[in-house]
Assembly symmetry: C2
Homo-oligomer: 334 residues x 2
């Protein structure tokens, strides 16, 4: 019952099995040039000693870590869990691991994420950008460290990937226009949100493209309470027959706000949200919304790094469109 003093190395296994260290190494990698019975003897020795290959020695020798670093300024954020699911799935596929780091956002710069990662055992890094970093234009990725940014903004030196928020708004607005609504009101979000701003642009541009004056938007703060207030405010506007909210919480709040003023959804007003996040939480309404595949975004990012394997990777920019999910909150008024 003596405690294990040191970790067992190939040397120990080699001694016990009566072979050279090299043969042990070859057995670990299942090389065809080791006789089956030798392999078995080595394997038995490994089992007996509880050998497990040392990651540091291996990486040092190989010059690769088989690990992707993920830098986040905020761990808690819509979709992060799904993105991580994607990171982990893609990493798994390539035999890679994921190293997670929270980066201090003061100041909010790519440089701080990059320097944080540089000391870690990673072959490449993914940065989740929620806001606009101060050095976005001037940032240069570390040499030899493939860098992928999760954002809609294209960067000249780093690959980028994200959900297409502009297209999301286009889909929603056109969906409502096709169903006979003369215009679409919009409940927006705080101006610091990159994705929220892009949604706002999409709403504005799509209406403009259809030759429709866009109404005054209502600025919310992502919460149902702000949506509720917006709903009450819009309830008195007779031109308002369709509302597009920048997330589902505000959309749901808006519905309740409208109801509190005697308006029914979808009979009087149609409402559409974004995120498909209400699923199991709200019992009495199937909200029409847009579903994003954040897992796919995460997978793409890690694939880009782990899939490269030595080949010089080009800079690429990828946007995945969301899918409009039809619920019960939109009425066709044609």
């Amino acid at each position: 019952m003596a405690a294990v003093k040191k970790s067992v190395s190939v040397k120990d296994v080699a001694r016990l099995a009566g072979v050279s260290e090299q043969t042990v190494s070859r057995t670990v990698h299942d090389s065809p040039s080791v006789r089956p019975e030798t392999k078995e003897r080595v394997r038995a020795a490994m089992r007996e000693l509880g050998y497990r290959p040392n990651f540091a020695g291996r990486s040092l020798r190989r010059g690769k870590f088989k690990t992707v670093g993920v830098a986040m300024f905020n761990i808690t954020g819509t979709g992060n869990l799904d993105r991580m699911e994607g990171f982990a799935a893609a990493a798994d596929k390539h035999g890679y691991a994921i190293t997670l780091t929270k980066v201090d956002g003061h100041p909010y710069t790519l440089e701080s994420a990059s320097s944080r990662m540089s000391a870690l055992p990673v072959d490449g890094m993914v940065v989740i950008m929620n806001r606009m970093p101060a050095d976005f234009g001037t940032f240069e990725p570390l040499p030899g460290m493939q860098t992928v940014l999760v954002t809609m903004l294209e960067h000249p030196l780093c690959s980028t990937v994200d959900n297409d928020q502009f297209d999301c708004s286009r889909q929603v607005v056109e969906y409502l226009l096709e169903r006979g609504h003369m215009t679409v009101h919009f409940i927006s979000c705080p101006e610091r949100s990159l994705s929220g701003m892009r949604r706002e642009e999409g709403w504005r541009e799509t209406l403009r493209a259809h030759g429709i004056e866009f109404p005054q938007l209502v600025r919310g703060d992502w919460t149902a309470q702000s949506g509720y207030a917006a709903g009450q405010a819009l309830a008195d506007d007779p031109t308002c027959t369709a509302i597009y909210a920048s997330n589902d919480a505000m959309a749901y709040g808006c519905i309740r706000g409208l109801e509190s003023r005697g308006k029914c959804v979808p009979q009087d007003v149609s409402v559409v949200g974004v995120d498909d996040s209400l699923g199991d939480i709200v019992p009495d309404c199937r909200l029409t919304t847009v579903r994003f595949d954040n897992k796919r975004v995460g997978m793409w990012a890690v694939d880009k790094i782990a899939g490269a394997e030595g080949v010089e990777p080009g800079v690429e920019h990828m946007l995945f469109p969301g899918v409009l999910v039809e619920g019960d909150t939109v009425r066709d008024v044609r």
Copy 2:
């Protein structure tokens, strides 16, 4: 503009600065026994060459990785984001990194998590247990790999930490009894959930301790829809004045279900949930619920590993109580 062929090492820096490799190493660690002007010269050389210390070499030498592995069977799960926040915060504090791994749950065993981790550069591991692993009783952590399980079940060889779900139910039931309710009805969850089952036990035992026969429970499935159905069913039961739901979504669904049958909350029936997850999503009710500090749970787990630093760590079991948050959904009937 020639590409960097190899990574720069201490040797390169030493040569450029005209000092020994050891002096470079000492400068990296800001040792006091290097003259300031020498340090500056070395630092200049590091900057010029873009030197960053190699993690593999360092770990190999030190025999430590300064990294904690986190194994999850399901990445997506209530509270995981907050727990990760905690992992990252504690890791940061100790100068550690977090390596995230999704473990295939077929079969759902601690052994599979452990062997997955053994090949990664980690000094210790945390396993998030949502369900009961088949080998919980027989599992032995890898020698030299400090293992912490996030679960309420105590393990003889591994430290454990979690929210105290039993105490959560005790708090809720006693809170309702103190306010004059004769009994507390319960909306439960699928039987495979460990934490859900523990909440159920807490409800049952606390009522028993107060000498109250516990009513038939209603089994839900975590969704608001199931809570809605439960609410409708309980609306017709005249003995039902207080309902405790195993999560907030079911509690909210229950409220709507009661309303659909003409019962008002809290005038006719009091409702309490668990998780404090409705905050920004539901506009029109401040649900009385229990808030857990999952971040603290995550921090404790990583602290236990990263804080040990060589000292032989004992097996410890920690449960953090939740906090009952008073909303507007409970009526005092005394």
